[in-house]
Amino acid sequence: MTRTMTIKQALNEALKEEFRRDETVIIMGCDVGVRGNPFGITLGLYDEFGPERVRDTPISEAAIVGACLGAAATGSRPIGEILFSDWITIGMDQLVNQIAKIRYMFGGKINVPLVIRAPVGAGGGQAAQHSQSFEAWFSHVPGLQVVMPITPYDVKGLLKTAIRSNDPVLFFEHKRGYEIRGEVPEEDYTIPFGEAVVRREGADVTIVAISIMVHKALAAAESLNQMGIKCEVIDPRTIYPFDYDTVLQSLDKTHRLIVTHESNRRSGIGAEIVSQVVERGFDLLDDHPVIVAGLDVPMPYNRQLEAMVIPSEEKIKNAVLKLMD
């Protein structure tokens, strides 16, 4: 049995089911309790599971992230929430120098079953400090897993995998994607990390799209289809591990690659993907890969300027057209 629901609802359902399944799962963060998180992701958790397991925290991101580690190391399965992923910077030392390394540094003796959830993404005039996505940073840090799903089915299955994983997971939700609807089965399921999905098949160009860009890429593909150009759209779902096999298989057919993500172009995840693809499949490529990404600007507040910075369906389309030229 499947139902239709929003990403927001799918996240909420995943949390509730995991809280019921495993008593060691706890969650903490600003406004996750009584308020149920500003976006409503944790609604109902506080009432059902109580203040021991659902913890409204003071505004202390470093301590929240670090406390997740201490709790994970001693038998709990904590979920830490950072309300905007931009502020993970405050807990960065705990995340990068403790969480990512503690198992290795201590000879494999510490388990780190924790998840840090954080909304990413731009739009809506939230300006420079509430619009960033740092997946590239975290994929640079061995010891972390990075997940960025963008359908209700995927967020639910991947969040469950994340919670059950014994390794630290950064779970990035796109804040403009919470209302995206889709089908979700009633049965319990999980989705393994590192398996991309081909969202649309096509033989001309491969578009690897991250998070919200999947939907923009699909829209661009639809419109290009009317012009006779067939795009294959791949949603990697997880950033690390990353499913290069699916991308290379696609390139074997299309020989042209576009990577699109919302975060800044410079040293973004697109650069990593391109560098891996050229290393693994240089000969598959007919032309150089193209990255359609956020411009390298702190996000401006003004609506029109903001729209220039955030990559659009239009920009993907133009990139495809140029590549097909």
Binding site: A127, A128, Q129, P298, N302
Partner: protein
């Protein structure tokens, strides 16, 4: 109302009794403030009230993009504090920057234009409400990251000391901000170095849905000063003169090289956290009893009853503030959008942008 709420009506009434007994101070004009100065303070409070009351409506009508946090019910703090400062002094702000900007002498036109994303705005439309700044007026900017203004204030105070100026800095922050790591580091650093900075905690007893008593075991923020070896004081945050007095004293101390003071101005946020707050986390009925202490009304009553001003005079001041805001709204609505060509301006200094452009970077 939330099924579960951290603060019941009973607790609210008890908290109000506590406030009345322990915090509330009579509104009496300090020595040395002229009638003009006092009226000017009132006018700034009125400007803030009118400005931030308008913002919500403008946001709902989509004139204002993004988020916005109101300074309504905090007017006494910003205005009281800035009245004790010189123009050349600095302040740093929080996410509630509109009030701080006005209190420091900022221009509501430029601010409203900024909120509407216009090129005439304080930040050329790039900052918006959460990053409102009036650098020329010494208002070093709002920030959307709680607590993050703290070390910036310390650095400005450091400049003052190192460059041999006698500026002081007021560092506004919320009660929620007191639990950030940089709060601690900043106060400790400033105390150790005897820097001319005043840490002014606007304790409205809430950080969005979390009451301060759930965020810290000791509800008295000013007690923390002891640990840093600096004076700490709690004052009536609904009382513009109480704030003024405390800040004036701290400013004197700071300016004469004796270092920082931690001031806790206690008030209550009886409005929503931000323009879109449904306050589902608390019983909204608990807001009402607190409105009795409305700082603007209180000041208005003082002026007429004890200040030696006529009701008409006071009313006229308020009206002129109101008009100024209306004018600002009209101005902002018709002000020009930033040219698209301005997108890259200011990522780096103009001279460095030149170099980058000559290399083919950041060319639109």
């Amino acid at each position: 109302m939330a099924k579960t709420s951290f603060v019941t009506m009973e607790e609210t009434l008890a908290a109000i009794e506590d406030y009345k007994r322990e915090i509330m101070q009579p509104l009496t004009a300090p020595e040395g403030l002229s009638g003009d100065q006092i009226l000017k303070m009132y006018r700034r409070m009125a400007l803030i009230r009118e400005f931030d009351t308008s913002v919500k409506g403008l946001w709902k009508q989509n004139y204002i993009y993004g988020l916005a946090h109101s300074y309504v019910c905090a007017e006494a703090i910003g205005v009281g504090a800035c009245a004790a400062l010189r123009d050349s002094d600095f302040i740093t702000s929080t996410h509630r920057g509109h009030g701080h900007t006005i209190a420091k002498g900022g221009d509501v036109k430029k601010m409203m234009a900024e909120l509407m994303g216009k090129y005439d705005g304080y930040c050329l439309g790039k900052g918006g409400s959460m990053h409102i700044a009036a650098v020329d007026e010494g208002m070093l900017g709002a920030t959307g990251i709680v607590g993050s203004g703290m070390p910036i204030a310390v650095g400005a105070a450091l400049s003052s000391k190192v460059l041999g100026k006698d500026n002081v800095v007021v560092c506004f922050h919320g009660d929620g901000g007191t639990n950030q790591g940089v709060w601690h580091e900043s106060i400790n650093l400033a105390a150790t170095w005897d820097l001319p900075v005043i840490f002014l905690c606007e304790n409205n007893q809430w950080a969005i849905s979390l009451p301060y008593k759930k965020a810290s075991k000791n509800p008295r923020v000013s007690d923390r000063a002891i640990g840093y070896g600096i004076p700490g004081v709690t004052v009536d945050g609904f009382n513009v003169f109480a704030v003024y007095n405390a800040v004036a004293k701290a400013v004197e101390r700071a300016r004469s090289g004796n270092g920082p003071t931690l001031i806790e101005a206690k008030y209550y946020r009886y409005i929503g956290h931000f323009v879109a707050d449904d306050e589902r986390y608390r019983d909204m009925a608990t807001n009402a009893p607190w409105t009795a202490f409305d700082p603007v009304e209180r000041m208005c009553r003082f002026l007429v009853e004890n200040g030696g001003f006529s009701e008409e005079q006071v009313q006229a001041v308020y009206e002129s503030a109101k008009q100024e805001v209306l004018d600002a709204i009209e101005y902002a609505k018709t002000a020009p959008e930033p040219p698209l060509s301005s997108l890259y301006d200011g990522i780096y200094s103009p001279e460095f942008m030149e170099i980058l452009k000559s290399r083919g970077e950041y060319v639109l």
